[in-house]
Amino acid sequence: MDFTHPTQPEYIVRREFLKKLAAAGTAAWMTGEPQAIWAKTGEKVVQPKPKADACILLWMAGGMAAPDTFDPKGYLPFEKGLEVKRMLSTFPAIDTAVDGVKICQGLENIAKVMDRATLVRSAVQPDLGSILHSRHQYHWHTGYVPPQTVACPHIGAWMAKVLGPRNPVMPAFINIGQRLEGVGESEELKAFTTAGFFGSEYGPMNLPFPEEAAQSVRPPKGMDPGRFASRDKFFRKLVDQSPHRDYMSDYQQQSMLRSLDNAYRLLSSKEREAFDVTLEPKESYAKYDTGRFGRGCLLARRLIEAGARFVEVTTEYVPFLYWDTHKDGHETVAGLHKEIDMPISQLVRDLEAKGLLDRTLIVIASEFSRDAIIEGKPGSNASDQATFKVEKIEEAKHYGLHRHFTGGTSVVMFGGGVKKGFLYGQTADERPLVAVKNPIPVEDLHATIMTAMGISPKTQFEIESRPFYVTIDGKGKAVTDLFA
């Protein structure tokens, strides 16, 4: 399956789209070319040449402990009476495809593709006085610490707004794996899973269950394609016959109907097959079938192939579940390793095999790291949120990294213009495991991602007569060392 067929370069697809647009009026989705936007400083913001056309964010929700994943430290196995302060990692280190770069046991498949990766070990987050997932996730996803006076757009919405869809039929921003109803802190999740002041045109298409994604682009349940087409036909006829037509200008009428047209186009297009993971060949499906996250990676790959601009796949944030380990840390993370290892490595390999990796930026990230002792930054007065506050490990449930740590977090990037087999930044070998070399704050990490996508960190839009920047105050600086 390959919708952006090599024999049909993107500009042809675009041209066809433009033709359709001529009939349908001006489309809000039509912001395909990077646009120069005047910055507040009076200088023209020059949008950098994009290194990637698409972005996949693999979100390790709940705080992925770097020492138990991509930044192994002193490992001590579980034993009764083990002093917590001696324990830095609960997994031993293993070799990767890159000499001298080790990651944690359990990530053997990812280890094999680390030669395609840029590994950042020095991402840092602010302390905020209370280490709350909701606030740090909001910060990471929008670049702004909540609360804010305006509803801030998600980084996916920024890409949708500035870059538009890669394929006009495909929604530009797709969010996989996160339920927004019926889970704890769902209101806090909704607060950043949005296009904010850009308006819902640029907002996420939410697909909490990858295996049910096909349903969201199919005609409603129980409606066959014939009936769907006929319903649309009658609708158009009734619209034409409505005397209301006389009370609207073409402009008004078309701006009402344009979106319905877009929707109908997606729902009856070939692209919608991309949403159906069951159409994947069995053998390939099996490689991704480690759980919802794994299947989400498969869905992301199919959507990127079909022309999506930004796809986030999350292990899902549910308080005290998955990466949010406040007890049983080791046990839980061992399970998560299994869930992410194969699908992530397969995603990298598949995109590479299809020739898409070079133009697709994959980012593995989390709102913060974890540590067995320190909550927040060293010296923070943030309250300790571990379930069991023990100094010596007596039971397996005590064994793990149960505190939120903001002083040094790992981020892994593949493809899309970043170096291959490259290590950047470093954390201390002894506690506190803070970034001791090249720390990258959230705004600079965002500036890097945005620059790779062809969006200047100074890009801004005006809201309520004030400029609002993609990185806070337009001050994020891309870490150009990471670029190939």
């Binding site: 809000a28 989705w29 005047w38 507040k40 400083t41 009076g42 200088e43 905020l128 209370s130 709350l132 606030r135 909540p146 609360p147 804010q148 006076t149 509803a151 929604p171 109803e181 802190e185 209101e187 806090e188 607060a191 308006g199 819902s200 045109e201 907002g203 298409m205 939410n206 969201s216 682009v217 409603p220 349940k221 009936r227 319903r231 609708f235 006829k237 009734l238 619209v239 016959q241 409505s242 209301h244 009370y247 609207m248 200008s249 402009y251 008004q252 009428q253 701006s255 009402m256 109907l257 979106s259 319905l260 877009n262 929707a263 109908y264 729902l267 943030a382 309520e464 007569s465 004030r466």
Partner: protein, 812 residues
């Protein structure tokens, strides 16, 4: 703090700013020019021929030539003048010198090429709105058009040589006015009756009857107020108790049509806990930036909601877009603040402390030395003062915008903008004042005008590019709530349970007659005697119970001599310390199917031992119509252990063995008994009214469909909703389950009436949804769709097609 010290700390802040990065014109240079140069070189001042109003003027220089050489600070005479100590040369000529840190910034700025914000200029705004109210003289009526609004607009149109918009047909008027005033489609019977009415007063009568529908009005305007006061039934902040709803207070205020000045005073200076949520804002755990503390949120919210002022810029630094200054934002914040409030500029301390003050001292000022509750009262009084025309102009402009599709001042949150008709704005504001701040009367005043009752303007792209002129009302897109209500009306698919913790409807003394009270007064063992319970005794009382089956509504009453705090399932729901006020409780959102607990922390007051007692009674109405009573009696338990309360949650429960059976007070105080007998039945009856009107979309939590249709997360104040239909919305409309289920339900119901033929069915649907009959062509198309004998599927598809038509989605 001395001036010297102040400027020192400022310059340190600036120097820290400058570290390595390019100079930030608006945050670093503008304040320097404002402080040291503005007096003589900006606005209409051009001393020595030099104006610094904009970049070009500055570079052009003055009488002695250029003062700045871009890129070369060393060659710029401006820098030399600033550094000079020669009294004849130095700039500024008098007053303190420009601190070294600021000079360094100026140099850097010149070296970097005199970067200037696009469009920025140091000058007074061309328009400054008046503050005082004004009663405009009405022009003479033309062509018998007597309505004051029409007299003003007819004159406006005549002056501009514009034609009047055409009058609106009856049916379209009926649909528009229903949706605008009560948010619902007109029922076909109501429409038929209206159309058949030959009276010239029929439109006025219809408007009157709609506005007399207290519940319909309240449940429609609830959406507007929830947006403007950022109130919601779920959202960020509730989880940690950092946010409180004002739903119950708001609903009741709308039902009784509380005068708007009183309404505002109760929000700004809350008389009780029910309206506190507005000023308390949203408190997140942990540190927040200086521009987002609850005190600053207060300043921003009050300015925006009631004055149409955007205080967001000025909460961080002196605004670049309007006249508001950092000190003024903080002055407002300090009215609310119960701690000394340090002023921070761009999140950095200035070393200055805020002094409580409000924005328009010309009509009075709050006493900064008064206690916080008193300061809030003073602010409330100033805000609603007859001298504050900004207040009444802001709200009438919002109402005009809702009714007419565009504000007289536009956008509605930028009230510093010149209105397209000052007479019209001032006239409406006067109307509000003269009507006793009656919002419904203002709405009626607008709706009865020919201006409102005229055809909607046909708009083309870029219509307002060269300035707005009035050409009739503008069509509005249905809000998410209007759309969902309309679908529910057509399909009967509304849910039975609402989420809003409000007491629906009005208190009905008659209905109360059928209610028999079941509760008893209870307390702990100290009430057994021989002496009365000690003063200050604090105990905990609870009931743990199970509710079987789905709940439709729960209403309760509570009072306690002397104080109570009520927790349902360990979450704080209500508290009060006045036993003479019997509190009615909306518990539909707190109780749930399955296990529940009601816990009350009760406290006795007084100086010595005195009577203490608690009364609670709730009626749980089940979805199947059955009713269950939960009331204080011997099955309750008490303990002297009182847990802590944190973030609105009850701390760890007392040990099992600490709980003992509550003591039922055998001889309750006479005044207690009278209180309960006279008031509780009518309150409780509200929950058991068998025939409640349809649950409205505004009363349920936002769902996926409503969110995609533009119902905002109410984390910020939102005063206007998007007017465009987006692609993601359209996808959801085309295949979303919520809408599909509603339409399927409606289709099933409609096709069950099998006596109906296709023609009659289509006609009925058109009448209800579009307030008109289908044309012969449309009938033919619908026949084609439905076939000779309409199937459920056919009906469902027709329903969908109608609901997607621009004609349906627009209120025109």
């Amino acid at each position: 703090m001395s001036l010297l010290l102040r400027s020192l700390s400022l310059s340190i802040a600036f120097a820290a700013f400058a570290n390595g990065a390019a100079v930030d014109f608006s945050h670093q240079i503008v304040p320097i020019i404002r402080e040291h140069c503005a007096e003589c070189h900006t606005g209409d001042k051009k001393k020595g021929g030099l104006s610094m109003n904009d970049r070009k003027s500055l570079l052009d220089g003055g009488e002695d030539g250029a003062v700045i050489v871009s890129g070369q600070s060393a060659k710029s005479s401006l820098i030399a003048a600033v550094l000079s100590s020669d009294p004849d040369e130095q700039m500024p000529p008098k007053g303190k010198r420009v601190p070294a840190g600021q000079v360094a910034l100026l140099k850097q700025w010149i070296d970097e090429g005199v970067v200037w914000d696009e469009g920025f200029a140091f000058k007074k705004p061309a328009y400054e709105p008046p503050l005082k109210p004004r009663k405009p003289e009405l022009p003479a009526a033309v062509d018998g058009r007597m309505h004051p609004i029409d007299r003003i607009i007819d004159t406006y149109l005549a002056q501009k040589k514009l034609t009047r918009p055409q009058p609106l047909e009856d049916a379209v008027f009926a649909r528009r006015v229903h949706l605008d005033l009560v948010g619902l489609l007109p029922q076909p019977e109501v429409l038929d009756k209206f159309l058949a009415d030959k009276s010239p007063e029929k439109r006025a009568k219809l408007i009157e009857s709609l506005l007399a529908n207290d519940i319909g009005y309240a449940e429609h305007w609830l959406t507007f107020w929830n947006d403007l006061l950022r109130n919601d039934y779920s959202g960020t902040g509730f989880i940690t108790g950092g946010r409180k709803q004002i739903s119950k207070w708001l609903y009741e205020s709308l039902v009784v049509n509380k005068p708007f000045d009183q309404f505002t005073r109760e929000l700004i200076a809350p008389p009780g806990p029910d309206s506190r949520g507005y000023i308390d804002g949203i408190k997140w755990r942990g540190d927040v930036s200086a521009g987002q503390t609850v005190e600053i949120q207060f300043a921003q919210s009050v300015s925006q909601s009631f004055l149409g002022i955007n205080m967001k810029c000025a909460s961080c630094h002196d605004s670049f877009v309007d006249r508001w200054k950092l000190d003024e934002a903080y002055g407002l914040a300090a009215i609310y603040s119960s701690r000394p409030l340090d002023i921070a500029r761009c999140d950095k301390a200035t070393g200055k402390q805020a002094v409580a003050s409000w924005l328009f001292p010309e009509i009075g000022q709050v006493d900064a030395k008064a206690a916080q509750p008193e300061r809030l009262k003073q602010l409330a009084a100033l805000m609603t003062s007859p001298q504050n025309g900004r207040f009444s102009r802001t709200i009438v402009n919002r109402l005009w915008q809702r009714m007419m599709g565009r504000g007289i001042v536009h956008p509605v949150d930028a009230m510093q903008t010149e209105p397209w008709s000052a007479d019209l704005l001032d006239h409406l504001a006067t109307q509000l004042f003269e009507s006793g701040h009656d919002l419904r009367k203002v709405l009626a005043h607008i709706a009865t005008s020919q201006a409102y009752q005229s055809k909607a303007q046909v708009i083309d792209a870029g219509e307002d590019d060269h300035g707005y002129v009035f050409a009739g009302p503008r069509a509005k897109r249905m809000t998410a709530e209007q759309f969902v209500d309309a679908v529910w009306t057509l399909t009967d698919a509304a849910p039975k349970k609402m989420d809003a913790p409000v007491l629906r409807g009005k208190v009905d003394k008659e209905a109360g007659k059928s209610v028999t009270l079941a509760g008893q007064w209870i307390w702990g063992d100290s009430a057994k005697g021989p002496t009365a319970p000690p003063a200050g005794e604090m105990i905990q009382l609870r009931k743990v119970f199970k509710i079987e089956g789905a709940i439709e509504n729960v209403i309760g009453v509570i009072t306690c001599d002397n104080e109570y705090t009520l927790f349902v399932n360990n979450r704080l729901v209500a508290q009060d310390d006045d036993w003479t006020s019997l509190e009615a409780l909306a518990l539909n959102d707190s109780l749930r199917e399955g296990q529940n607990s009601i816990t009350i922390i009760a406290k006795n007051a007084g100086r010595g031992p005195n009577a203490a007692g608690l009364y609670f009674e709730a009626r749980v109405k089940h979805a199947d119509g059955k009713e269950e009573t939960i009331a204080t009696d011997e099955s309750w338990q008490w303990t002297s252990t009182v847990p802590s309360v944190k973030e609105g949650r009850l701390g760890a429960a007392a040990k099992k063995e600490d709980w003992r059976p509550a003591f039922v007070i055998t001889k309750p105080v006479g005044s207690w008994v009278t209180k309960i007998k006279t008031e509780a039945p009518a309150l409780l009856a509200r929950g058991s009214i068998a025939q409640q009107p349809m649950v409205r979309a505004a009363l349920v939590k936002s769902d996926f469909l409503m969110r995609t249709l533009g119902r905002p997360n109410r984390d910020q104040i939102v005063s206007t909703r998007p007017n465009d239909l987006t692609t993601l919305e359209a996808i959801d409309l085309a295949n979303g389950q919520t809408l599909a289920d509603a339409l399927a339900k409606g289709a099933k119901k409609i096709s069950a009436r099998n006596e109906i033929d296709a023609k009659a069915l289509a006609t009925q649907l058109y009448r209800h949804a579009l307030s008109r009959d289908p044309s012969p062509n449309e009938l033919a198309t619908t026949q084609e769709l439905l076939g000779p004998k309409p199937t459920e599927q056919g009906v469902q598809d027709l329903l969908w097609a109608i609901c997607m038509m621009p004609e349906f989605l627009m209120i025109r």
